[in-house]
Amino acid sequence: MSDIPVFFLHGLVYAGLLFLVSSGLTLVFGIMNVLNLAHAAFYMLGAYFSYSLLHATGNFWLSLIVCPSLLFLVGAAVERFLLRRVHVYGHVQELLITFGVAYIITESVKWIWGNYPLGVNLGGFLTGSVNLFGLFYPVYRLFMFFCAILISLIMAAVLFKTKIGIIVRASVDDSEMVNTLGVNVPLVFTGVFGFGAALSGFAGVIAGPLLTTYPGMAAEILVDAFVVIVIGGMGSLGGALLASLMIGELQSFGALLFPKLSLALMYMLMAGVLIIRPSGLFGEEQ
């Protein structure tokens, strides 16, 4: 029975990671009404950039800052040069273009880094274990969890305490009205899209050493993140947080209690939520 706290912590760690990925996804959807299928590809790029940077410099802290910044640029460029061009054609075209970007990124990754898993050697104090109330727990997982909390707190502070945050939240509500009030909404779109990519990339950087870096990692987290935002309600950050916790713990305890069913549990939860509340736990009724 001493497994239970360990699995609970594992669940929390994965929930933190999921929240980092799904918060960007749901924010972009809330503001631009675009479901970014390339979001998980950015996550994967983060992990691969970090792998190369670690190989070159050996400094993990550096890659925590550099990789998300690079992904901000990638994301902003995708929004500015691809997404904006097809905006006039409607949502299906927007969805398809992000789909194409995801496909190209995945293929480039296979091309550049190879179609096999890469291990990352961190070294330093991150590789050890720590005694947590009589329970030995890997430092790196705790580190991931604290990163997720820190980033979430920063995000909450920016969203709720600054002027930029007010503009972003207002754009989620009604971007046309914000545009008429004299705010450069296209710039907000580019910024938010780039910010979402950076968040996802950050998640990739911290996930890489734990979950191994390989070309299938994008598809794996993409489906989980989608389930999270469907359960939480599309465009709702609070919903994403709650759903991340639910999915994280469900996957962790599912693997412990019903190893054969653990994958299906997530979909069963999703189907259940959709039958009771089709727009998700915190979604707006359509």
């Binding site: 959807f29 009404n33 479901l35 299928l37 691809l82 061009r85 097809v86 054609y89 949502h91 299906v92 075209q93 969805l95 398809l96 273009i97 789909f99 194409g100 970007v101 496909y103 190209i104 293929e107 480039s108 091309w111 598809a219 993409l222 489906v223 989608f226 389930v227 935002i229 469907v230 599309m234 054969k260 994958l263 299906a264 979909y267 999703m270 189907a271 959709l274 039958i275 089709p278």
Partner: protein, 332 residues
């Protein structure tokens, strides 16, 4: 152009393509014949996808769940039921996919647009997970191979492992099915789906039950994809996890977008171009999926109506105002 003439044009085209299909193998090598067979199978898959995307405006990222289910059902029933005939397996397979289409459709079709796309993706992932994990039935990552039984028509004995024979069987069955799809788009039901995409509120107001129409369409496309999937297994005499993976859903999206969603012919064209390009490019470079991705993004940015749209506008330019009969246009 009147409806009758447009029908006649289309049928003339269909008969022409069919005759080409019949004559073509005479000079072809086995390898080219295999390629042609694959094109026909994927053409039906792409047409069924376009009934969702082009006609009903429903973007799905999980169409391979039906394709893969059809593929797996054929493989499983051949392994489990000894002495099962060729068409027996196909019939069981399409019955299973049709049922699955009904079950999934009644869960998903309360949603439209982006949530619908998401949910199809999630369901595809679920089907994929089942296929990988349920090792005792599906063979997991190893896949399942089958021994193809011959067809005994009474007056003739068809050796299905011969690629020429298999090609003709595929051409007739899948070809007829594709023709039926075209017929479907011209029926009252098909037109209802089309008008629903344009203005659903109004269709409701006119007394149509749009949810039921959408469900029927979804089940129908599931049936078609299942049929294509079962032929995919019969053709390869093997089914692998690829058939039900999200990669397969990706492929059909690529085909339809390259061919163009705006016409009935578009997806068929897209499937043929895709299979040909894949064959051609994979000889030159291992990186052919990358090139496919570039072509895809290029098409979306600069040729949003796809190859068929491109050809259409060329013909229109050449002949003044003239519409290809395959056009999905509501005014007639």
């Amino acid at each position: 152009m009147t409806k009758q003439r447009s029908h006649a044009y289309f049928l003339a085209w269909a008969i022409f393509i069919f005759i080409v299909g019949v004559v073509l193998p005479l000079g072809a090598r086995q390898y080219q014949l295999a390629l042609l067979t694959e094109m026909i199978i994927f053409a039906l898959f792409a047409v069924s996808y376009n009934l969702l995307l082009g006609y009903a405006g429903l973007l799905s990222f999980g169409h391979a769940m039906f394709f893969g289910l059809g593929a797996y059902t054929v493989a499983i029933v051949f392994n489990r039921i000894p002495g099962l005939s060729f068409f027996g397996a196909v019939i069981i397979s399409v019955m299973v996919t049709t049922t699955a289409g009904f079950a999934v459709g009644s869960l998903l079709l309360r949603h439209k647009g982006v949530p619908f796309a998401l949910l199809t993706l999630a369901f595809n992932a679920l089907f994929y997970a089942i296929a990988t994990k349920w090792h005792s039935i599906t063979g997991g990552d190893d896949g399942l191979s089958i021994r193809l039984p011959d067809i005994n028509l009474g007056f003739a004995h068809l050796k299905t492992t011969d690629i020429t024979v298999f090609y003709y069987i595929t051409l007739i069955i899948i070809g007829l099915m594709t023709l039926f799809c075209w017929y479907f788009t011209r029926t009252a039901m098909g037109q209802t789906v089309l008008l629903m995409r344009e203005n659903e509120e109004r269709m409701k107001f006119l007394g149509y039950n749009t949810n039921v129409s959408r469900l029927i369409l979804f089940v129908f496309t599931g049936f078609l994809a299942g049929l294509a999937g079962s032929f995919y297994t019969l053709f390869n005499q093997f089914t692998s996890i690829t058939a039900i993976s999200i990669d397969m859903s990706t492929i059909v999206v690529l085909m339809v977008i390259i061919g163009g969603t705006g016409s009935f012919i578009g997806p068929i064209l897209g499937a043929c171009v895709y299979i040909y390009l894949q064959d051609f490019l994979s000889d030159i470079t291992d990186r052919w999926p990358f090139i496919m991705g570039l072509i895809f993004v290029f098409m979306i940015l600069y040729v949003p109506r796809g190859l068929s749209g491109l050809i259409n506008s060329l013909i229109e330019r050449l002949r003044g105002r003239w519409h290809l009969p395959g056009n999905i246009e509501t005014e007639e």
